[in-house]
Amino acid sequence: MNPARFIGRILFATSILALPLLAADRPLTIAVVPKGTTHEYWKSIHAGAEKAKLELAQQGVRVNVIWKGPLKEDDRDQQIQVVENFMIRHVSGIVLAPLDSKALVRPVENAEKAKVPVVIIDSGLETDKYVSFVATDNLKGGQMAGEELGKLLGGKGKVILLRYAVGSASTELREKGFLEALAKFPDIKLISSDQYAGPTRETSYQASQNLLRRFGNEVDGIFCPNENSTIGMTMALRDIGRAGGKVKMMGFDAGSQSVEDMKKGDVQGLIVQNPLYMGYKGVMTMVEHLQGKPVEKRIDTGVVLVTKDNMDDPKIKDLLYPPLDKYLK
């Protein structure tokens, strides 16, 4: 590299440092980084972020929302790259759903060093260098699932927990909460809790088929901690003819397939979060922070138990069928 270009680079670097000062009247640019982009769950988060943008526009605050997941779904290294590149771009703030509670710590701390604030949504991160943590109380969600399954089984039977993936803090908390609640039923026996559904419907379908090949005839109740594991397990239950309530199925999240399955009676209960509100609140919290208002370090976005009985309730309906079209064009 010749000296002139080197000096040029240094000049560029320093001018970037000065950017936040110059850019005072620019619209805020907020990057929202999900774990992946194909799950319906993330589309709801996206819709929530857009909802926040529309509402802010009405208040006269111009916000640009950039929606960008890792290039490969569920790839930690790729998510780090996305965060780093947004840091370089000097967006006003990043709203991040970290794929891993540890691997994303350093990129977030680097962003903070580079004066790009980060709001964490959905899953926890093992640092305190963020503005706020906006998420479901996942432990509570898991406990609700465990209690409901215990009730459905009348306090006795054999239960399977199909885990989601390693290192995913949100689902691990649900699994923990579920096991805690289940421990209150001494006559319920956990026959498998060491299998993982993996990132896609296909992987979870396979894992479920393998599990049911072994335990299909003796299992009485199953809990799956997220959208694709719930769908995959329900498919596998139907294959062996034990769906429709023979095996009590508790799931998590309101994927449209899971809601259909619940209508048919193949799923007995779903613990439903409010991802739309999470996306909305994530962006709102970031904007409040950027405007210099104080924000809570932990914001709970709530969970609800949805069953066949309450699924037509208008409030629940909004959770099951989030009005995505209204916000995502």
Binding site: I10, L19, L71, Q81, M87, D100, K102, N110
Partner: protein, 349 residues
């Protein structure tokens, strides 16, 4: 005289490609900055050139800035290290599909070693890199010993190493206490070009060494000879099968080191990381002018190839393009690069 000129063109080709990519993105970003500025300030009536004056070109500055150069280099380290090993393998006429899995396996090996009380940081480095070498040794041994297609052998090893990584990690990501090894990939001062992470310097150093190995040593000559025509090489007295074992083992060492870097970058060992990374490495080597038929390729080309892919990603993200668009572009660039290479070769004949 003429031949040496052509040789330079072969290494320069990818470099021209990289400069082309940078210029294209710089232009696009500058244009986007102006258009964004016009939209935000609402001065749509003013002429395009008038609004250039009022633009602060923050996207362009971010792209060409030293801080971005540092990030791009850091993001390239893992693929570049892998591409070094892959270059040697591909020049020898082989292929190694297990590279991504070996990276994951070695990241777990390193993480588990850091959890033991006896392994010093240097010990962790040595054993992790050696673990990659052992996998390569097995690859090479089977390819040479059983006279099997490297594609099949390493395809099998891809799954075996992935499984081994999950087994060794107990089906989990492996966390470890804080260690100086994390500095290998740490971005101290994310706002400036210097200091560069050690990983970048190590990769640059190894690239030079590998280029020397391939161009200036008998070993390098043999690798090219085997890749050009295995039968002729054997008739010339080269111990072809033995060389293959060494080539795959050497590549394994690079993949092991890439795994160590991956571990440092994630601050954990992750058995599910780097899925499909071998394809990125192969793409880098091929963009760099190597032939999958063997006998052609250069380290400089492969390094530039790896940089082109990272630059494409960084530029696409600054442009705000969606992921699917990026994937389509990267795929197109791979095909285009190779097509241009073929045309150049045909013209040279």
């Amino acid at each position: 005289m003429k031949i040496s000129w052509r040789k330079h063109l072969n290494t320069l080709g990818p470099l021209v490609g990289l400069i082309f990519v940078v210029v294209i993105f710089a232009t696009l970003l500058a244009w986007k900055d102006v258009m964004d500025g016009r939209e935000f300030s609402g001065e749509t009536g003013v002429s395009f050139f008038a609004s250039i004056k009022d633009t602060d070109f923050y996207g362009l500055k971010a792209f060409l800035g030293g801080a971005n150069a540092k990030i791009v280099l850091t993001q390239t380290v893992i693929v570049a290290l892998g591409a070094l090993g892959m270059t040697v393998v591909i020049i020898s006429g082989g292929i190694d599909l297990s590279a991504g899995s070996v990276v994951a396996l070695c990241s777990v090996v390193g993480a588990q070693l850091l959890n033991t009380s006896w392994a010093s940081p240097w010990g962790v480095v040595l054993i992790t890199v050696a673990a990659g070498g052992v996998v390569g040794l097995v690859n090479g041994g089977v390819v040479a010993g059983l006279r099997m297609m490297p594609f099949i052998v390493t395809l099998g090893m891809m799954t075996i190493a992935r499984g081994a990584a999950k087994w060794l990690g107990g089906n989990q990501t492996v966390n470890f206490p804080d260690t100086p090894l994390l500095n290998l990939m740490a971005l101290h001062k994310p706002d400036a070009f210097f200091p560069l992470p050690y990983g970048v310097w190590i990769t640059a150093g190894l690239a030079v060494l590998t280029a020397l190995l391939l161009r200036q040593t008998i070993f390098g000559r043999y690798v090219f000879a085997i890749g050009s025509n295995e039968a002729t090489a054997r008739l010339c007295g080269i111990r072809v099968q033995w060389m293959k074992v060494v080539v795959y083992a050497l590549a394994g060492l690079y993949f092991g080191l890439a795994g160590l870097m991956q571990m440092a970058r994630l601050a954990q060992g992750d058995p599910t990381v780097a899925i499909g990374l071998e394809l990125d490495m192969i793409a880098a080597v091929v963009i760099g002018g190597a032939s999958l038929n063997g006998g052609a390729g250069s380290v400089a080309g492969s390094m530039v190839g790896a940089l082109i892919m990272t630059t494409l990603r960084s530029g696409s993200q600054l442009m705000g393009w969606p992921n699917y668009f990026q994937e389509i572009i990267i795929g197109t660039v791979i095909v285009l690069a190779v097509a241009l290479d073929r045309l150049r070769h045909r013209a040279a004949k």
